[in-house]
Symmetry: D3
Subunit: 134 residues, 6 copies
């Protein structure tokens, strides 16, 4: 159970309801997941978060499916079950296959291994990896 | 400074030297970065880590540049400077542009925001995101 | 289910029972939550933890409600559901309102974003933020 | 050194320069710290981040100094040196004293202890801490 | 529920089945836990992970029970319930007692406190703790 | 540089000085490292932290060298350079060898890998790993 109630459409203030309607229109589906229904408690937080997600995950220089894979990778590193499940669903909807999901997790796990080794042994950064003074 | 000395080629045991030679051959460059020179202290650890990285980051169902971007994203979430710098360098060598780097960081930051909100408010996972019983 | 059993008052050793009684007296309530009943398994750990919490969360230079809000913020960053729920309850008992809770989470999420950007891009600390040499 | 160059005012695109000018106007100081000068590389990321920070850290239901203390607490938990130093400086500018700084760190440290105990022993959440079904 | 189905022996590809058989032979038990049955989805990931675990947790310079205790400590720090429960079970099977479990958690909790104090106050490393230049 | 000054013996209040003297007596050495000299700024925090460390790291059911290895493992997971370096030094003083250090790091890295896999794939805990209802 959430710390704040999951709001149905009828329980929201008009300002939150307007954002929820935009989520529906943008995603072309009636379904609105719990995350938005919980933060709808605070219309300003809801609006800011949705506008940001729409902008960051919208058209840019990185492929939409790749964006979702990166989102999932960070969510695993941050140990957020909700985020892993919702963004894995989003990635599947954008074409992620089972072998790709397994490969994604293998990279996340591999990075966690070498991250810990580099941190644990305090390996100094090579000159070659530092930005050149301009 | 590293907790264990950064070994030059001459200071390594033959078993470690053989792995270092394979790194050079695989990457088609003489340059071997500090990470490998530190874990070369333990030939078994070196061999296992290199074999794993070669396998995980080698040909698969995910594009090589995307793999490096995922590696960087996890390294940021784990706060490993060495890994951020070395894998950003690797990603740049595979074609990552400045706008893509900025966009990658924006996704990592965005994910960290919604991760914290979902965790902080303990949002329950929607039925729709759970795997169907088979 | 806990890794160690949740002890009722009758199942505790006298040394643990004495600490539990002090928790009741200090908090002016009969209710003692699971956290204390699990670590009551080890009277020394229980006594040390309770004495520390009592001292850190007791009178000082920071307002009691603010202390609880800081505790909640750290618990979100550490992804500890038990701690988020118990310290949110404590904060509510000290007067935390729903808008303040939403605002607290917004700060935690905002900090997580800029934390990742600063870490990810390896932004160097400005001279102005470093302590003056004395 | 940063992964992307720290931009002087002259090196920025006009869209970034406009945000930087707003930072100066809002904060009533000419000094703009490195964080903004690095993300100024991407005007959209810069604008979004600044608008969000301005909104989240601006007037609300939580005292401005308390907001900075929460920001510092999360930055410690996320181990972001840049963020710890810059937001401690901001908190000091808003009146944080040395004893309050020490007390803040003591709370962060205390929370990290009980967080780990609750996670490590998998303590189940008490009924009393769960939201009432509505 | 897992993101990928938990495979029974019959549902696995032969390459995965062979690894599962080696897990049974090595551990001298028919029981194979969910972790392996989920990653069995990807025979290469399964084989690599099992070979690594067998090597890392096998005979070396650190006592087997101590290895499990270190594994549990990291799992608590990473907040992985599955890993805490499975490796605590493994540690108990190797002789871990209740007082040792409580003492292990006390060390993890203590380290988390001083870690946060050292990070939060940005304590510089003493000369004495740095490796001697060679 | 630390956020609070590193205090010499002469700069401390008597209450802090007394704790520092006890650190010297307990450890049988004149050298007192920076961590204590920074938190000496707050005599209550210093005394509480030192008493806790003395108790947790003192005689118990786990071997002193093993305790230091667990402390190092957690410090790596938390990415605390100061703590990694100071507790590695303490472990070496208690007999930790180079091969053991490499093996310790290999376990920490291995655990981080399987932690991320178990979290990322949301593997459900096996019945066999849950405590029996009593």
């Amino acid at each position: 159970m959430s710390l704040l109630p999951i709001l149905s459409d009828d329980q929201m203030q008009p300002a939150s309801r307007a954002v929820i309607d935009d989520i529906r229109a943008t995603r072309k589906t009636d379904f609105v997941n719990n995350f938005w229904r919980v933060i709808a408690h605070d219309p300003v937080l809801l609006k800011r978060t949705w506008e940001n997600v729409k902008q960051v995950m919208g058209p840019g220089t990185i492929d939409p499916l790749v964006k979702e894979m990166i989102y999932v990778a960070v969510s695993v590193a941050n140990n957020c079950e909700y985020c892993i499940r919702s963004h894995t669903a989003a990635a599947r909807a954008k074409g992620l296959t089972d072998p790709q999901l397994a490969e994604l997790m293998a990279i996340v796990a591999m990075a966690s291994t070498t991250n810990r080794l580099a941190i644990g042994l305090q390996v100094p950064v090579d000159e070659a990896f530092l930005p050149k003074p301009s």
